[in-house]
Symmetry: C2
Subunit: 367 residues, 2 copies
């Protein structure tokens, strides 16, 4: 079975690592000839919207998917006329525009932070009054890992922020005083079966995911409610594959921050921490295989390596630590790999995590 | 870090799948251009003892290893003059000759089934008297998966068996009425640290491994004794990497059957069933990384797929089943893949294993 992936980054790489044992073969389209998925399949070096490359991919593959959400949705729509594309490009389209996304999920019954569309400085002033300050001004499109965002704390911040970002359609979002960020990871197959992994709690640094932790948690009443909404949305979209939903947990409610129509960094812990990983279940879903068990097999903590890899050998000396090097060239702010700690109980996990942080600090690694 | 593997079969493939996340890159030498490790690294199509290919491998790689024990030991010795080869070719040399192997392990204090060298029909008659019947006549070299063996039940079996195998140096081994076959999997690093996975119980069919099961068993006094002997042997050989030791458990003692100086089929359960797999720990050992935790994370049952793959989709519907397709062309007697069931307790494992066998039977699959 041949799987086409538009994008050849670390998500494509980890999809291939999960799919090879299932007997699948992988084909990537990526403009970067040194993209990190390349060693795991065949690579066509081309832009994500290169029609010839996408046509050849559709011809060669039983099913196509994508590994990040800034792949042009229009290109995926064209591709879906030539072959099976999962998940639906419509999900991509929604997630690519923060305003559309918020309108869509608000309409689907989710609670969201207050937001307003901003197309002019005038709009921004009005929005700031309605939403209140502090608030976050964001570009509607092409933002990820905290890029294209400005925090507005005071009225005097409005004009410079608008000037910095104002050439693009914007959105102003209320700044949420959240207790924690959680993400819900779901997978839906073509027959409509939906499974959820246990929620993960995320910590970001400078807009980039820093850690995610999860474990065999039972779903609270609030989570059960949110799962119901997620299920309705996935059903409505006839969504097939893994989707990630990020929330701000204010203590009173879960406010939807964003949705990613793909495997997600906050689900990397599932590789070792769940019976079936997000990568395997995404592949199972898009190829029509039965979904695998999403239960946690212990308590997990995933720690991203951004800009710099720490001393691998020292890290691997920690019991229950699993190492993931994406084989990428180091660059500030670039995700180069991650490690996941898995332990049978929370105490052991906390102790090993403390050891890890001590060790990183001892080596002058920024923590 | 570049790893060279002489041999590009499923063991090399699973080594690469374990090593890619550690940031390693793989290079294989195999005479078969369609060998199943090929998609996971670079492949040089050449015989295992091709001096030019091995020279290039040594030059390109930080460390070399091999993926099966019939790689010519002499070729590995030559390779070790050019670069680091782990484990030591001496272990390969010992394991390649059943007589040398038995003399070596007998000298190291292991209990073994009675055996005698056989170079003539005369020898065979004498050996049959000393060892007793039933007994197994085997070629001293190049046997695997039950190939090159004859069971002798009666004196009249001697001549035809000798004629069938007699052109090669032989060995007669007592037929052991064992209660079960167990294997011990160990890993030793260059600094002399040794770790054992819990023992696995193996079932063979027609000389080929059929199932292995393991779990978080505590070592019995007998196992602790045998572990001590294994440790001495590995230390004596300055062995670096994973080694597998197969025993006949007679209820009274563990009689050594054979040693494999490599990752082993009876250790495939460690991929999902242990904190660190045999593949990852072999790579950690040969590259000087700290060894990973060898504890079991549940109860596991590995089931080989020989000659034919069953219906993957139906198998994957079973909870806790993990699928491994080696991407090989089907051929009778050929190992094409395996599945591992992992469960939290023995009862669940037994129930799922029963479901699996029922399902295979229902599909007319030979069980």
């Amino acid at each position: 079975m041949n799987i086409g992936i538009v994008g050849g980054g670390q998500l494509a790489r980890m999809l291939a690592l999960a799919g090879l044992p299932l007997g699948m073969r992988f084909h990537f389209v990526d403009p970067n000839p040194a993209c990190c998925a390349a060693p795991l399949g065949s690579l066509t070096v081309a832009d994500y919207d290169d029609e010839q490359a996408l046509g050849a991919l559709a011809e060669r593959c039983d099913v196509c998917t994508f590994d990040f959400e800034n792949v042009p949705a229009q290109a995926m729509e064209k591709l879906s006329a030539l072959g099976t594309v999962r998940p639906t490009p419509r999900a991509l389209l929604i997630s690519q525009d923060r305003l559309e996304e918020k309108n869509f999920f608000s309409g689907a019954g989710f609670s969201l932070p207050a937001y307003q569309a901003v197309d002019s400085l005038e709009d921004l002033r009005r929005a700031a009054e309605q939403v209140g300050l502090p608030a976050v001004l964001k570009t509607r499109r092409l933002g990820y890992d905290g890029k294209g965002q400005r925090v507005l704390r005071d009225v005097s911040d409005l004009e410079p922020a608008f000037e910095a970002l104002g050439s693009m359609p914007l959105i102003l979002e209320a700044f949420v005083a959240f207790r924690r960020e959680v993400s819900l990871l779901a997978v839906r197959d073509a027959e409509g079966h939906v499974r959820f992994w246990p929620w993960a709690e995320n910590v970001h640094q400078q807009g980039i995911l820093f850690t995610s932790r999860s474990g065999p948690f039972t779903a609270s009443r609030r989570e059960v409610h949110v799962r119901g909404l997620v299920r309705q949305v996935l059903d409505g979209l006839e969504y097939v594959g893994v989707a990630a939903f990020e929330f701000f947990d204010t203590g009173e409610q879960w406010l939807l921050n964003e949705m990613a129509p793909r495997v997600h960094n906050s689900g990397h812990w599932t590789i070792e921490g769940a019976v079936t990983s997000q990568f395997e279940n995404h592949l199972r879903a898009i190829t029509g295989l039965p979904l695998g068990d999403t239960r946690a097999v212990g308590y997990s903590l995933m720690r991203n390596w951004v800009g710099e890899l720490p001393d691998r050998d020292a890290c691997l000396a920690l019991p229950g630590l699993h190492w993931h090097d994406y084989d990428k060239t180091a660059r500030p702010g670039r995700k180069l790999g991650h490690a996941t700690l898995v332990a049978e109980d929370l105490e052991t996990l906390a102790a090993t995590a403390f050891q890890l942080e001590q060790q990183l600090r001892g080596k002058g690694f920024q923590v």
